[in-house]
Symmetry: C2
Subunit: 418 residues, 2 copies
């Protein structure tokens, strides 16, 4: 029997039938699910009551935040209830001296960024879905994003956690401490567990001083290895202030230029690789000079073929547009087979070489479009279909291509991002 | 029956009788233990064989690194074997581009710092026992030290881990990846588990660009609250480059001056509190100016009563001598009752006030000497015996004082460092 959820959270917060539709599918429509109900508790106590009732009734619980995941983890199936955190949107505390923010799981990421900024602080987690993803999901999936290089993954940004365990007990680890060595650190077991060990209901997040200076450069490279020496030099010269280091292949630029409105090549020449390098610091002054020094040395040494620094916010946005337009460009170009892989940063060039050789041998004409977070060793090794190929026939080889790439990555001590 | 350890690690690496003496006591002599043997494996495989043999024979295993712990955790008792990691001293890999170092558990901390420096990198973990403590112990106890504010505890510095589990299996989590979301993050369960879940045999550690500029100031304060606004301003103005922020009370200075050879008060006047502030960055230039700016504003606003910047390495050392001499000064002054507690940084002043009032009410004449890592909210709340008191009678009240202090700390969402 389905528990009487209405008595626990109010009838208006129990959705059934057609009202459940948006909760049963992820945004690309690749996964469709079904559920007994969508329940929207309004407090940690209510989450606990719902989970307890489900445990007693033997009903599966699927936690859901912004439902922005693309792996189907938030999509229910079978005898399941979706527990949505969307009503848990309170910022419980913000402490600019302790540099912490205590947020409920349903807070939308951009709202937390804004709350930090109001206190002249930075909450550095930033990713594509930030306008609709919710912090509970970010924590549960150990989200990455564009600032990992400097600030770490979601895991590194969490000081404390409040959870509802699978039997409905509340686990209170909501500490705002920089040092806490009491007992086993269960918090880190829950982070990245994707909701399988319980539901995140609130968390204490780390804040940082807000950057006062941001410098962005687009650098043309002969090859990916050159990017590594530029990155190392930039980290040192800037006082470890490199916040983004994104590798962009020629084909990525081409696909943007072909399909993304307003995209412009920052260079007058078709360079084989570009590097988007961004430095930011709360210490005003000196960063631009440091970056210029690094690029000068790189140009002299042949690691850089050309370089341009953003002179305005507009120009900075234009640089990022190239980077962020690649998935859209790929999509409009036809089928793409995707891999999100990580290896030690120093081994990215070797990984690119080996994986490219393997997929090109298996599928002549395939167009490798490998781009992404070089600074974290995390590359989107994506394949665009051969020109003129049949899209479905291409996509049918998804698993085959995945195996080729993932085997090489595993052999190199790497991993898949899921 | 005791397993035949000699067949597993060689007869020369099985110590018994008087040879075990240094492994059965911690350095202050507060804990004395006993063991069947001290076994010194030379490889991960040997550690696994020893642990398996112990598991099968029902013998307790006590892992031991440099045996520098002061809580007795490394001291065996009963039917136990000490497994010493002191022969596991190989640095397996160092990668200045990936900014990682792969070290075996028995590597002495200073050796790792030196290996990093040879590659123009920094391994930031730094603490009093660094000349003899071993990295396996640092990881197992989630060691802190003087650089936590900027670089985190040992936990934050570990990317990968190799463990021998209690049944003798080897758990291979020795990844050098900045992003790794496969499965539950068991690594963090092992870190800080003090060897109760297995023995750390190797780890991959994070490196950072080596600082090019270090600026150190001693600041005189009216009260601890003033330190918080100086810290916040310094973090922002320096680009989050504050690497140490140590609070020192007047009595700490006095005890140093009285008992520590060569200690000198940096000021000509007896200020109630001092703050040792250190900034360091791999970006050369600008840090001193930033620090001077912060101190100027603090002096104008009354948060600082006086301030002096180190003009030389000698002067920097003299500042640190005051901070580091406090425990020695306390020891020579008579009995001291110790608390190592952490609260949110913003609540340190309140904690100091409440705890001081409580212990002074319970023991008139007690001298509170509270000092330490203000930036982490981690304070050594130590009590020096009343002048002329009987040392033993004072120390007999250890548990009573502990309870007073720990209850207040717990009430404030704090914790004890153990």
């Amino acid at each position: 029997m389905t528990p009487d959820f209405a008595s626990l959270v109010g009838a208006g917060n129990v959705l059934t039938g057609a009202d459940m539709a948006p909760y049963l599918v992820e945004e690309r429509g690749l996964y469709h699910g079904s559920a007994l109900a969508v329940v929207r508790p309004g407090s940690t106590t209510e989450v606990a009551a719902v989970v307890k009732a489900c445990a007693e009734a033997g009903i599966a619980v699927v936690p859901q935040g912004g439902n922005t995941g693309l792996c189907g983890g938030g999509v229910p199936e079978g005898r399941a209830v979706v527990v949505s955190t969307e009503r848990l949107t309170r910022i419980r505390a913000i402490d600019p001296i302790n540099l912490t923010l205590t947020a409920e799981a349903g807070c939308v990421l951009t709202n937390l960024q804004a709350a930090a900024e109001e206190q002249d602080c930075l909450f550095p987690l930033s990713l594509g879905a930030e306008g609709s993803c919710r912090i509970g999901g970010n924590v549960s999936t150990n989200a990455g994003g564009v600032n990992v290089l400097r600030y770490g993954n979601a895991r590194e940004l969490v000081l404390g956690l409040e959870m509802v365990l699978p039997d409905g007990r509340i686990w209170d680890g909501l500490r705002a401490l920089r040092k806490n060595n009491t007992g086993y650190d269960l918090k880190h077991l829950f982070i990245g567990a994707e909701g399988t060990l319980g539901i995140v209901t609130a968390c204490v997040l780390k804040l940082f001083p807000r950057p006062r200076e941001i410098e962005t450069a687009m650098v043309a490279l002969p090859d990916p290895a050159a990017a590594l020496s530029i990155l190392a030099a930039a980290r040192t010269a800037s006082g470890d202030a490199v916040t983004a280091c994104e590798l962009i292949p020629r084909i990525g630029v081409e696909l943007c230029l072909a399909h993304v409105p307003g995209a412009r090549d920052p260079f007058g020449q078709a360079y084989p690789w570009l590097l988007l390098l961004e430095l930011s610091s709360s210490r005003p002054g000196g960063l631009r000079q440091a970056l210029e020094g690094v690029l000068e040395v790189a140009l002299e040494g042949g690691h850089a073929l050309d370089a341009v620094l953003a002179e305005s916010g507009e120009q900075r946005k234009a640089f990022w547009r190239i980077r962020e337009g690649i998935p859209e460009g790929q999509k409009k170009e036809g089928g793409s087979i995707k891999h999100d892989v990580a290896v030690p940063t120093s081994r990215v060039p070797e990984m690119l070489e080996r994986c490219t050789a393997a997929v090109e041998a298996a599928m002549p004409g395939v167009r490798v479009c490998a781009f992404g977070h070089l600074g974290d060793g995390n590359i989107h090794f994506n394949l665009t279909q051969p020109i003129g190929a049949d899209k479905q026939a291409f996509l049918d080889r998804w698993a085959e291509m995945n195996k080729l790439v993932h085997d090489i990555v595993a052999d190199m001590g790497g991993t898949l991002q899921v």
